[in-house]
């Protein structure tokens, strides 16, 4: 509850969600019923209100049929059997059959409808979460680990599924409780009073029990979260674990967490197992009451024997709904937490939103202008300050400078992963913030330092979002970057399925495929983010040839480590400590004798292997 949604508010990305993220696994709350969560969840059910209404109607009819059965038994005993009326008994049996047929149809029907609704709601939730995640800016994704976001979309949504199921069952339980009370009152007021009088007592017992159980169940959930956290970390870091021979140490640590979980569970069970006998005892007490009161009444001729039998049947089901509701206690608690977490994520505001009047970027020529651009990930630490740079259409600019100088940030701003905090970036004179992101992304290609591929065939990966790319186009791109022959050497060629992130290819091959992907996208502006760093000389030679073709007629911003890339650039921008220190061609900068020239001289000296040997 300390992290309850009301108090912390939904909005702040760096706020509640940021902090919460860090304490993720231990952060469990004990709320049983969170009105806000339930209300919003009901909102998700709104589109299916007709089905829900139908299902509720079904529940009512179903309850009526189940409540009717003991009544039929009572009628049978008192009305026909005791009177020796076999004719009537035949009719009753027929009625019985009809009620059961109806019960089957309604029971199956309403559950099926609700099942459909539940799954549809979950689908809608997942769809919205996914879409929302696409809209959230890079800064969000940089800050939040894949695992913790995944767990919201996956586990929390599954938990909500349980919740919806409970809602359905509980609704049925409550209605059947009401139905049973009505039926008992109809049968005999005195006996039903005795039975119903036990109800508040049972509620009291459960209330006391919950006080103890709540803490125990909370402990269980914290314990299992720790177990899973440790497991997840170990799987992710298994290569380190193995190369450092940590298996035994890790197992004993894990064993500690695992035992703590076992003990927490046993403790919780020792408490929760009390409840069942308690409810049974209440049932027995009610039965005993029925025997004494009912027996005397039957003896006195006030009621007939069938009433007593019907009561016995009702009593056995009377406490069931209450017990069921109590058993759902943990799930309910968990569902509230999950719901709160899901809506919290959905409420994170994408701080990068298209302006309402944003007009799509028309086909561009590719002029890029940074005007007095400033940017910082946090307010107090500026990464870029007053950056000015103009790139003419078709030009290549090489960004050079030490790590942390701001090169990567500069290109991230150009791709609008973040918005500038000062100044502006113009493409063909359009301020980036005034065009929809999508229309910009379609005309800009990025090759990242670490190539990222998706599970799927190589062809799908090269084509990626350009669904209309032809086979020929894909192969042409692969040829251009020199990966075609390798792909053809695989058993399935372009239809070879890549494993998780292309794990079955080497880094270099992944890199080449990601180049081909950028080629197929055919962007006007190309950003190469240190892409050449992990590719080796020979491969790079192929790539550089391909890049020359690719760059022709395109504007390119390249973060380069290679002399040849820099030398061939139309412009070199030396970035240092968030500022553009020098701009010019290779020759100009050398002549100027500044930073660039100084470093160039040094690296020439270090370059020749003989000198090093």
């Amino acid at each position: 509850m300390m992290h309850g949604m009301g108090g912390m508010g939904f909005g702040g990305m760096g706020g509640a969600w940021g902090r919460r993220d860090n304490v993720n696994i231990d952060d469990e709350q004990g709320k049983l019923f969170d009105c806000e969560v339930v209300w919003r969840l009901l909102g998700y059910m709104a589109p299916y209100r007709r089905q829900v209404a139908l299902a509720v109607l079904g529940v009512l009819v179903y309850t009526a049929t189940t409540v009717a059965v003991p009544l039929l038994v009572q009628r049978g005993i008192d009305g026909y059997i005791a009177q020796g009326d076999l004719e009537g008994l035949n009719l009753l049996a027929l009625a019985f059959a009809v009620v059961l047929a109806a019960q089957y149809a309604v029971n199956y029907g309403h559950q099926a409808v609700l099942g459909r609704v539940t799954q549809s709601v979950l689908f809608d939730l997942r769809r919205d979460l996914f879409a929302h995640l696409q809209r959230l800016p890079m800064s969000f994704h940089n800050r939040h680990k894949v695992g913790s976001v995944m767990s919201r979309v996956q586990n929390d949504v599954s938990t909500l599924q349980e919740f919806l199921n409970i809602m359905v069952v509980s609704l049925g339980d409550l209605i059947s409780l009401a139905g049973i009370i009505v039926a008992m009152i109809v049968l005999d007021l005195r006996m039903s009073t005795a039975v119903v009088a036990l109800l508040p007592l049972l509620v009291l017992v459960i209330a006391v029990w919950q006080r103890f159980a709540r803490k125990a169940f909370l402990n269980v959930r914290t314990a299992i979260a720790r177990v899973n956290g440790s497991l997840q970390e170990n799987i992710a870091g298994v290569r380190v674990v193995q190369s450092m021979n940590r298996q035994d140490a890790n197992l004993s640590k894990f064993n500690e967490l695992n035992s703590a979980n076992l003990n927490a569970n046993l403790r919780a069970m020792s408490l929760s197992a009390v409840l069942m006998p308690a409810v049974e005892l209440f049932t027995a007490a009610a039965l005993a009451g029925a025997v004494v009161i009912g027996g005397s009444l039957v003896f006195g001729g006030t009621i007939e024997a069938g009433v007593l039998v019907a009561f016995a049947l009702y009593i056995q089901r009377f406490f069931d709904p209450i017990r069921n509701l109590t058993m759902q206690f943990t799930q309910l608690q968990r569902a509230m937490t999950s719901g709160a977490r899901i809506f919290e994520l959905l409420d994170v505001e994408p701080d990068l939103r298209d302006a309402p009047d944003a007009k799509p970027l028309p086909p561009i020529r590719g002029e890029v202008r940074f005007e007095h651009v400033s940017f910082g990930y946090t307010k107090d630490k500026p990464v870029l300050e007053d950056v000015n740079l103009t790139v003419h259409p078709g030009q290549t600019v090489a960004l050079v400078g030490p790590t942390g100088a701001g090169k990567t940030t500069l290109v991230a701003l150009l791709a609008r992963f973040h918005d500038v905090t000062g100044g502006r970036i113009l493409i063909d004179g359009h301020d980036l913030r005034e065009v929809p992101r999508a229309s910009l992304a379609r005309q800009m290609g990025t090759v990242l330092q670490e190539p990222f591929l998706f599970t799927g065939t190589i062809r799908e990966n090269i084509r990626y979002s350009r669904a209309d790319a032809t086979r020929g186009r894909i192969e042409e791109a692969a040829r251009a970057v020199g990966v075609h022959d390798y792909i053809m050497s695989l058993p399935d060629g372009y239809d070879t399925v890549l494993e998780e992130r292309g794990g079955n290819l080497s880094v270099g091959q992944r890199q080449l495929i990601s180049f081909a992907r950028a080629l197929v996208a055919d962007p006007r502006i190309l950003v190469l983010d240190e892409a050449t760093a992990s590719v080796d000389t020979e491969t790079e030679q192929t790539i550089q040839r391909a890049l020359k073709t690719l760059l022709a007629g395109r504007t390119a911003v390249v973060i380069a480590h290679r002399l040849s890339t820099v030398q061939h650039a139309d412009q070199i921008a030396v970035i240092e400590q968030g500022r553009v220190a020098e701009v010019g061609t290779h020759r100009e900068l050398l002549e100027r004798g500044g930073l660039y020239a100084k470093h160039h001289a040094l690296s020439r000296g270090a370059a020749t292997p003989e000198a090093a040997g």
């Binding site: 019960q103 298996q247 049947l313 800009m444 695989l490 992130r501 000389t537 470093h599 040094l602 090093a612």
Partner: protein, 612 residues
């Protein structure tokens, strides 16, 4: 069935707990059967014998019997849970340990999310099965058996009518169980695929955004989510139908009883109290019938979950200690690759690791060249004297990383052998080989723990001074001291984020602390700036002295100071020799050297001059 039996065997590890659970279950059930008898007696007393004197006694007996039964059912519930929780505990430990011991080949293939879902969802399903299947289902059977005996004893003809539904229910249960098994497997598979789409989308968000591929990704996700929706709905509907049918079976029995029993009462064959007893006894069966639906589902899910779990638990790592393996000791650091060939499983080949099982090496060898394998290393031979420094140079995929992976025995060679001090690494214990080879890996993984714990990851008992010394050598000490809690600052997934360069140096410090006789540096300076790189390089000079070192070089600058350079090309060692000789020879190396005019064109601040 074999899967379920195997799960049951985990429960059999706790025979005493199980026996106690069963004993309390039997007693609780017997007491439960007594209640309708008491009720029926009460009705007979009142109706047939017009006697109310015993009513209070009977009422008291009902409460007493139930209270006693409560004690036993508490015991039963608790004990059943105790067994199931212990089994879950055992399986979690086994799963965890298995995962951390399976070779890289396994982890290359398995998605983290998928493994996690096995450890969470599937283990939980197995636990349900132990609880429901091994104990509570006994209550069901006992109750049905007990009630049947009593009913048959009361009136066998009526009993047959009342119990007619039992075989029907049993038949249905088996049929539905079989169907649900397939449905749950489909739900699992669909969920797995949806998870993969999500995971990759999040991990590759930069690409998604850079390509403006939101719609494409959304469509991809929705397609999978829709499949999950459909298969989950099928499961829900099947369960609903089954549950509804079971309930109708049960009530139909009551109706049949009323109809036939009513006739018997009218004929005077039984009393009204006996009929009431019959009906009340039958009503005891409502609980087992309800449970039946649940049970069927539990069995089906446990079957699917067990299969998925055992797949992992049964996976045999081909990399493990030979029976007569001895630890390497006093390693001098002489390394030799002798005609080594190796193939990773090719993309698309989906054999499970245990397919290679006990004869992993032989199977691997036989499969070389066959479809499904791509050779990463072919007939590679290299001899390195103790203390020598070797640079491995070559294009990506040429086999550099493979060579060191084989040296540290993360994989086993398919043919040839790798030796350390003349001993085949497969004849030494895996642990001792890895202790001898320190690797600074390309992907640096930090655990959610303090900086100190992360550095001391391979040597938990390391003194703080040693940790600090290692950090100093890795040029990281000053930056650690600048962190909020210094060496106690928690980093990793749930802690502070370190920069790429810091992480890499932390990984270097980690390896330094291990003090391995053989050192592998895998392109470890690729993501630090020139100034830091120069600092690391100088520090590493000291560390490398006296150790056999392999440097996986991506830039010529990494080759500096190497005694030997091995140039790899498509899995073969194309050239070996001193840099000077290779340059003179005018082969691939010279070509590379000419191409790469400079180690880095990124001019650092002038203080980076140390690089030269």
């Amino acid at each position: 069935m074999r899967v379920l039996l195997r799960i049951a065997r985990y429960g059999m590890r706790y025979p005493w707990l199980l026996a106690a659970a069963w004993l309390s279950l039997i007693l609780a059930t017997l007491l439960q059967i007594a209640v309708p008898r008491l009720l029926g007696t009460a009705i007979d007393d009142v109706l047939a014998r017009a006697d109310t004197s015993r009513l209070w006694w009977l009422a008291g007996a009902i409460v007493l019997v139930t209270a006693l039964r409560g004690v036993f059912s508490y015991g039963n519930q608790y004990l059943a849970e105790a067994v199931s929780q212990r089994v879950a505990y055992d399986i979690r430990n086994a799963f965890y340990d298995k995962l951390q011991r399976l070779s890289f080949a396994f982890h290359d293939r398995e998605h983290t999310g998928n493994l996690m879902s096995k450890a969470t969802v599937d283990v939980e399903q197995l636990r349900f099965f132990i609880n429901m299947g091994m104990v509570r289902s006994g209550q069901m059977l006992l109750l049905v058996a007990g009630v049947s005996v009593v009913l048959l004893w009361l009136d066998w003809r009526l009993a047959l009518a009342a119990l007619a539904f039992v075989p029907l229910v049993a038949y249905r249960a088996i049929a539905v169980s079989r169907r649900l098994r397939g449905i749950w497997a489909a739900v699992q598979a669909d969920t797995g695929r949806m998870t993969t789409v999500l995971q990759e989308n999040l991990a590759g968000m930069r690409v998604v955004k850079a390509f403006g591929a939101d719609d494409h990704e959304q469509a991809k996700f929705e397609a999978q989510a829709a499949k999950v929706m459909d298969s989950s709905y099928t499961a829900a509907r099947t369960q609903a139908q089954n549950g509804a049918l079971m309930q109708v079976f049960f009530w139909a029995a009551t109706g049949l009883l009323l109809w036939l029993g009513g006739r018997a009462v009218v004929d005077g064959r039984i009393t009204l109290g006996e009929l009431a007893q019959f009906i009340l006894y039958t009503s005891l069966l409502v609980q087992p019938i309800r449970m039946m639906g649940f049970l069927v589902n539990t069995f089906a899910r446990a079957h699917a979950a067990g299969q998925r779990l055992f797949e992992v638990l049964d996976a045999e790592s081909p990399v493990r200690d030979a029976p007569e393996a001895a630890p390497l000791s006093n390693v001098r650091g002489e390394v030799a690759f002798e005609q080594v060939s190796f193939a990773y499983r090719a993309p698309g080949a989906k054999a499970s690791e245990n397919a290679h099982g006990p004869s992993g090496d032989a199977a691997n060898g036989a499969a070389i060249g066959a479809a499904g394998f791509r050779p990463a290393l072919r007939d590679a031979s290299l001899r390195v004297a103790p203390g020598q420094r070797v640079a491995l140079l070559g294009a990506p995929g040429s086999g550099k990383t493979t060579m060191v992976n084989l040296l540290a025995r993360f994989y086993d060679v398919t043919s040839g052998r790798v030796t350390i001090d003349g001993i085949d690494v497969r004849d030494a214990t895996v642990a001792s080989v890895r202790r001898s080879v320190g690797i600074v890996q390309q992907d640096v993984y930090l655990f959610s723990a303090s900086v100190r714990e992360n550095i001391a990851y391979g040597r938990e008992d390391a003194a703080l001074d040693d940790v600090i010394a290692a950090a100093k050598t890795a040029q990281l000490h000053d930056e650690i001291m600048a962190l909020p809690q210094g060496y106690d600052t928690v980093v990793g997934e749930r802690g502070m984020t370190l920069s790429g360069g810091q992480r890499q140096r932390l990984s270097i410090a980690r390896t330094i602390l291990l003090d391995p006789p053989i050192l592998v540096l895998d392109d470890s300076t690729s993501s630090v700036d020139a100034a830091t790189e120069a600092r690391i390089r100088q520090a590493m000079e000291n560390v490398m002295r006296g150790r056999t070192t392999f440097v996986i070089a991506h830039r010529l600058s990494s080759v500096q100071g190497a005694d030997t350079v091995a140039v790899l090309e498509r899995g073969r060692i194309a050239e070996v020799g001193a840099a000077r000789d290779l340059l003179a020879r005018g082969g691939i190396y010279k070509h590379i050297a000419e191409l790469q005019g400079a180690p880095t064109a990124a001019p650092g601040p002038s203080r980076a001059g140390g690089a030269g």
